[in-house]
Structure formats: C-alpha cells, structure tokens
Amino acid sequence: MRSTWPAVTFFAAAALGPIVVRDAFLLDGLILILLWGATAASWNVAGGYAGQVSLGHAAFFGLGAYSAALLGTRWAVSPWIGLLVGAGLATGFGFILGFLSNRLRGPYFVLATIAFSQVLLIVASRWRGFTSGSEGIPVPFRPGFWTLGIADKRAWVYLVLVLAALLYLVQLYLERSRRGYQLAAVREDEDAALSLGVPARRLKVAAIAASAALTAACGTLWAQYVGFVDPYYVFSVDLSVRFCLAAILGGIGTPLGPFLGAALITILETSLRARFGGIGAGLVGIYLIIYGVVLIVTMRFAPQGLLPWIAEHRRRRAPLGTTA
C-alpha cells in the first residue's frame, strides 16, 4: 500500500500558498493546478481505476460549465444548484457511455467518447437561442459565496483545494476499498473478474458515471472561476486530452499522480508561454515545441508516469541507505 505523506505534503503546500504568496499570477497558477488536477483525478476514476480510457471527458466538463452558466444567466440560479444539475446530467450521459463500454472495447470505446464530446460541441455551438452559440456565455458576477462571486483569489485557492482533496479521497477509496480491488480486477481481466463473482459490468458503468459527475463538478467551478464559457474550448478534444495527459504523466491509476501531472503541465505551459510568447512573430509557436519535447522525454524515461517512476527509484536506493 502506498503511503499518503507525499499527498499530505502536496496539499499542505497548496494550503500554505496563499499565506506565503500574494502575487495574483502565482495564485492563479495554483488555482488552475488544483482545478486541472481535480479534473484529471475525475478522469482517472474511469480511465485509470476502471481502465476505461476516454478522450471525450470534455463533454462532462462542458456540461458542468454550461449548466451553471446557463442557469445563472437565464434564471439567476445559484451555481451550486447548477453544479448539481450538471453533475446529474453528466451522470445520465455517463451511464449511457458506460453501457457503450460494455459493447465497445479498446479503440472503439475511445472513438465513441470523442464522438460524444463532438456531438455536445455541435449542440452547444448551434443552438443559438439557448446557449448563445459559438459566442459563448459570460458568467454573471454576483458577489457572495452562494453565487460564487468571489473576487479574492486566496478564497478560490481554498475552495478548489477542498475539491482537490475530495477527489484525492475518492481515489484513495478506489485504491483501498472492496470496490477498488474489484475494479482493479475488472481492469486487468474482465472475464477472470467475472469468474470470481465480481459484477464487472455494473462496476464499470458506475465508475464511468461517477467519473462523469465529478468531471462536471470541476467544469462548473472552472467556469465560475474563469468567468466565461466558450463551447470550442470546453468541449474540445484538446481539453479531453489534457485531462488524460495529466493523469498519464503523473501516474495513471494513482491517487496523487493526476495532481502531479496537472502541476507539471500547467507550470510548463504557463512558464513557457510567458518566456517565449513574445519572442517574435517567427517563433510564436516555439513554446509548444518545447512543451512537446518535454512530454516525449518524460514518457520515454517514465512510461508509467512520474509518481511510479519516483517510487521505483526510491525503492532501488533504499537498501543502500539502510545498510550504510
């Protein structure tokens, strides 16, 4: 069983962030790391723990973002209610996708997830009367906790920290509980799991539905923080890949991995863009090249992800340390 102290350190450091740092740019980075980490963790519930790799999770993220934004702008409903509505819708769609996963395996399932997010993109960008189409929706700012109109970035850090910690606990449950062991068995070999009495299909569907609902909740909070919902962003394949990438980079199927991966991606992207963004018209895209190279090198040397890679190197060194 893995120890939890690295996670405690991570979350404690994040909690200390607003006390130590006053800089809005850095606080913004911290908020995004926690939010993307939580989203990647939500993806990890299906993709990592249940082994159902989805490249359409932006669909659920977008559902969460749109539900709260639309309910807020059109009927002045609290984003917390919007969060629940989004999570509810995502659960429903998650069930449908889950049933699909019992029919489609491997690349066919992945393709189905991509198609699913593209359908929602089309709906959101074409249904102008309701969603404002491709213009997107500005999220109204009404001060207060109930309306999530929070200007203070430090407060946002703690809000998303609660979300991130919650998702860490969800994953810890999936690692140590009865259902977690059964899900691991389904991921490894579904038929063998069935032969041992594991209700494989039901578990898979439940994992995908839960993953969808959690992703939607992250989407709501993200939209409320950023203040604007753009269909081409929230339903994009790029975004789906980002959730998946963060989890894989940090360590798929590990509770802290998605947060580590999200931290790496966010820091890398933001710092590279800040460093090379204004370098001159001919080199505008150079940060993307560096970004890509770093990802490739990481996966070349740590194909299991960073967290398992670090754990392995510590284990190798441990006997030397103890005999010295």
Partner: protein, 240 residues
C-alpha cells in the same frame, strides 16, 4: 441427490456442434474427471456451466436451482468457481491481491479478505510469493494462484480446467496432491485433464466426451477400456 446436474446440454457454433445432448450428475463431495481428445467439447461445457456461454438447449442446475442464463458473476456467487485453461492471473496485481478479489466476493471487510487470502496462499504453497507481482510467477505457480483465487470464493463446486497442462513434470505431483486434498476435504470437483495417468489416479469417476457427445461415464478402469473411448483416442485401427 446430485449437487450439480448437467441435463441435455447442446451448444452449436455455426455448423459445428460443440456439445450434443450432454447429461450427467455430480453428487456432493464427488470428484469427476472429464476426458476427451482435443475439440471434444470439454472446455465448451465448462464455459456453459460457469455462465460464460449460453447453451442452445439443456439446463445446468446447482442443488436444484437453475444456473443457465445467469451471468458468470452470479454463477460464482451461487457457488460454482472455475479456473481457466489459458491462465488469466491479474498480472498487474500482487499475488495476495489476486486472491483477495475472490475473497471479497464473500466478505465486505478488506482486512478479513487479506488474511483469508494469505491463509489460502499458504494452503496452495504460495505463501512466500504473496507480495510478488503475479506476472513474475512461473506457470506452475500461476496454476496454484488460480486455484487459491477460485477457492477464495468459497465454491460448492470447483471446475478445474487442465490442472497439469503446460506445467513442467516436477510440478505435477504437487498439484495433483492439492486436488486430492481438496477432494478429501469434501469439496465437489469437476476436473478436465489431458494427462490420462493423472486423471485415472485422481478421479474415482470419469466422463468421456468425443465430438461433443458423452461416450462413456464410469470408473477409470471401465472408461479407459471402453471401446468407444479407445476408438476416440487411438482411431479405428486399434479397436478389435
């Protein structure tokens, strides 16, 4: 009263009939061997009993209750466990975690499942490997792992598909002894086995299948002397 009853099982795959009207009963505590040349429908029969295939006709009953039409996980929870001919360990999990998956079908308590799994691993002689990854095990050890995993589901009937198949000669006696011990302990077993010497030594009763049909059912002596069995294994030239 029979514990497991197989009645009139027929299964077709396109034009091929894998099982044709196969019928036999297994009494509580009995060990029944199933033999037959390649392609005689032994494994298909196991897939049907364990719920992975649905028969075209016929019925499987456990203690009077129907099993046909139930999903494999339901069949297992009702008390029929199996091993696979082509071994299927959860390669990425540790040996003890593999067995825990089985144990967790009977208990909700993870800690209890772990201690139960360790007990079973000791029993099959894999206690020292408990914390190793399943992918590091040899074929013989994997067979023991599958056995422990299936036993962890506390079966009333255990289906073993090829216990000694693909295992090196030195590992066979240990595995055979394990099966004997389970039988002595009162477990009901249905054992597919290619190795005639093994099956005739272990099973007091043998069912022979050929081209999907049951051609003999009785003591090892009677079955191995049965002209139809000899014919099935050696071809017509050897029967007089």
């Amino acid at each position: 009263m029979s514990l497991l009853s197989v009645a009139g099982i027929t299964k077709r795959f396109g034009g091929v009939t894998a099982n044709r009207d196969v019928t036999f009963d297994v009494a509580r505590g009995e060990l029944v061997g199933i033999i037959g040349p390649n392609g005689s429908g032994k494994s298909t029969l196991f897939e049907i009993i364990s719920g992975f295939y649905r028969p075209d006709a016929g019925e499987v009953r456990l203690d009077g209750g129907p099993l046909t039409g139930l999903s494999p996980d339901r069949v297992c929870r009702l008390g029929v466990a199996r091993t696979f001919q082509k071994l299927r360990p959860f390669a990425g999990l540790t040996v003890v975690d593999n067995v825990m998956v089985g144990a967790l079908t009977r208990t909700r308590d993870v800690r209890h499942a772990r201690s139960r799994a360790r007990e079973l691993l000791d029993r099959v002689g894999l206690g020292e490997k408990a914390d190793a990854h399943a992918r590091t095990l040899s074929t013989g050890q994997r067979k023991r792992l599958e056995l422990a995993r299936a036993l962890a589901t506390e079966p009333r009937v255990l289906l073993l598909d090829e216990v000694t198949g693909g295992v090196d000669q030195r590992s066979i006696p240990g595995l055979v002894q394990l099966v004997r011990d389970l039988h002595r302990g009162g477990l009901t077993l249905l054992v597919i086995e290619h190795n005639m010497r093994v099956i005739t030594a272990v099973a007091p009763r043998i069912v022979a299948l050929y081209l999907g049909e049951k051609i003999a059912d009785g003591t090892p002596d009677a079955v191995t002397r049965d002209p139809r069995v000899v014919d099935a294994y050696l071809g017509q030239a050897y029967t007089r």
